[in-house]
Symmetry: C2
Subunit: 420 residues, 2 copies
């Protein structure tokens, strides 16, 4: 039914930011690649006659109707994790454009009682500066401005410097109350990141909550030495100690709660020579569970094990929290309205963080998830069938029409537009 095709929109950017090291994408936040993707979005918005702006926090807005109070906003992000898939972020942005086209083509926009905007959030993955949802955290004040400006990327550049070269003014970065006050509903469409819909007859789900999620930094220091001349009995090798802890993470998480997840995906060894016993090794631990108390229990179990392994080896360990977000429930009233137009769509909790989760504490927010047959996410095997991509747009159109106060929007199954 849609007059613009989400599939062809995604095809326009399928070659942007491909990972030169292998399959998948490299689209770091505030990088030249993210800027190229943003410029693509700006050009598409321009072609549609939308009024575009990049706000003080680097969030891109495209207004379908003159800006005003109680706006309906939809969108997502265009950055990726290293080696990420094609849909995580871009599906929500392309679906927003396609949904706009449908609402415009059917004349629904002319009857809208509320403003409509499309939005693109920067550095959602946190893969550059280590803080996920940096754009929405800045907008809502969920991160202190000084801390944000001081964040460093792997090259040692601060967010303040990078933001400046991106055209932002570090003096103006931070909570934007008037912009928040103007948002009446925020709806983010996103590819599903698990197997919640795979194998069911539903292509679209409604988000119920984002489960609690924290990141901790474990730093081990031992005695650097020569790999050939230092007897095994004389070593204080932080690589051995840290590796033993990483090897125990799955067992300790499962022993605490079988639905808890705990992951080490990033490590750092100093100095990192093949023939050198390292002097230091760090890893980052990601823990998530719907019950914040379980997250704490998993952290405590792993921390205790880290201290035991370190003490056995004469290695020092220090553990620090980098971020923590408790479980967030999406806005109940808004979800009730989503369910009214998508009565068949199941409610799904998410283990992944989203800008909609950050915004949910400040403005009515909701999410739509589109079926992922592999259940894989943050990897090239992430998938979304073209029929499901289109079903996601249909569902988004139905939800937006309901929020905009438009009646009679011809969704695929009539006025209520149940897209799934």
């Amino acid at each position: 039914m849609t007059t613009s095709d989400v599939v062809s929109l995604l095809r326009q950017i399928e070659d942007t930011g491909r990972d030169p090291r292998g399959p998948g994408y490299q689209r770091p936040g505030f990088s030249a690649t993210e800027r190229e993707l943003r410029d693509w979005f700006l050009a598409e918005a321009d072609r549609r006659g939308l009024d575009t702006e990049i706000d003080a926090n680097g969030i891109t807005w495209a207004w379908a109707t003159p800006p005003g109070d109680n706006a309906v906003v939809t969108g997502s992000h265009l950055d990726s994790v290293p080696g990420g898939g094609e849909f995580d972020g871009p599906l929500g942005v392309a679906s927003a454009l396609a949904a706009f086209d449908e609402l415009k083509a059917t004349g629904a926009l002319e009857r809208a009682t509320r403003p409509l905007a499309l939005a693109v959030f920067p550095e959602e993955e946190g893969s550059r500066f280590g803080v996920a949802c940096l754009g929405s955290r800045l907008l809502t004040g969920a991160i202190e401005v000084d801390r944000a400006l001081g964040l460093k990327d792997a090259a040692g550049d601060t967010f303040a410097d990078v933001a400046t070269s991106y055209g932002l003014d570090p003096e103006r970065v931070g909570r934007d109350q008037s912009r928040l006050a103007g948002i009446g509903s925020f709806i983010e469409l996103h590819v599903e990141q698990g197997l919640g819909l795979a194998g069911t007859d539903q292509a679209v789900a409604i988000g119920s909550s984002i489960i609690g999620h924290g990141r901790w930094h474990f730093a081990f220091t031992g005695q650097g030495n020569h790999a050939g001349t230092t007897p095994m009995s004389h070593r204080a090798d932080p690589v051995v100690t840290a590796s033993r802890v990483i090897g125990d993470v799955p067992t300790l998480a499962a022993a605490t709660d079988t639905s808890a997840v705990a992951t080490v995906g990033r490590t750092l060894i100093h100095p990192g020579g093949t023939n050198v016993i390292a002097s230091a090794m760090s890893f980052w631990l990601d823990i998530r569970h719907a019950d914040d108390a379980v997250v704490t229990q998993v952290l405590e179990a792993i921390s205790r094990r880290a201290r035991e392994h370190a003490a056995d080896a004469g290695v020092e360990v220090s553990i620090s929290q980098e971020s923590y977000s408790p479980t967030t429930h999406f806005t109940a009233d808004l979800n009730t309205r989503l369910t009214s137009v998508l009565p068949e769509a199941p409610l799904l909790p998410s283990g992944a963080g989203h800008d909609a989760g950050i915004l949910a504490g400040h403005v009515p927010s909701a999410m739509l998830y589109v079926r992922n047959p592999t259940g894989v996410s943050h990897a090239p095997e992430e998938a979304c069938e073209v029929d499901d991509q289109r079903a996601g747009v249909d569902a988004l159109v139905a939800v937006l029409a309901r929020e905009l106060g438009v009646t009679g929007t011809p969704g695929p199954t009539g006025e209520t537009g149940a897209g799934a």
Copy 2:
């Protein structure tokens, strides 16, 4: 007794190549830093009126007397491991210069019956291209030229490219029979890399052998996925598997032979995001033992464990050898002559590889080790007292005088010059 001080020579380069990330040095092979150190050596050789040349393999030679057959050669290297110490390499180069000054000042050189040269070998540590003693391996043909030229550094540059920009001709790199044929004795002085002399009354030891040494690459591949949405029971996480193997390395090595050493100092995770279950992880394993059969046994035990952990986790593992050097004994006749002038010096085996170990298979070669009170090596805590540095030069003077056929060289204890 020396007229030039090894301590002040080392002080001239103490600020070159300091590690910006912490204490210690970063002096990679064929880097701008190694070139700066080489230029320092060339300038010092020039000041002394030595004839200098850089040969086809990047080895720097400084001839104290006209080049000829049966030359006596002494020297070491100026590159370092990442985060290395001050003395590993430069002590042998500075001691060679100081020993030349002493032989010259005492008139011994005028009476020499053999030519004398000082030599500096490039990329001894192998920290840039992964192959230790690259210069001496090329000179002796211990590495195939095509393999050497194709070696890549972490930036993806080949040795062929880097050698070219260093002023070498890739067509001329490789075994240099006429140069080898001209070397009658090679003596390398080096800081000790263990505790063999610490706490004894000897400042200098004579090398007996270099124990067998190999490097293997272990590559694990699993399924990349989202750290928040993938249940622990659905994961094939190569980081967990590889870490479990690393954690078992010390136990498996010790169970095979208590004098075997096995080390992992370098790893690589793809893609390496905090909120990403990695799809691949590699590590490099360094194993050494005087008995080559023990090295094989340790490798087999670790490989078996790697396959078990991988099979348990649904992860693939592949294991490949990167280099292997069997145990090398220094030249018996030459060591007998060293012992005659240094009768108190103990004979020490070494767990560390050296250019002298590569040359030993081709020309008479020997090593002098100078006491290291910490026993630490390949780390900033590596140490050598100034009195011991000077004792090392005295021992080297005595050895060179003996090799040059000079009688009556006034060493600290007379003609035999026992420096320790």
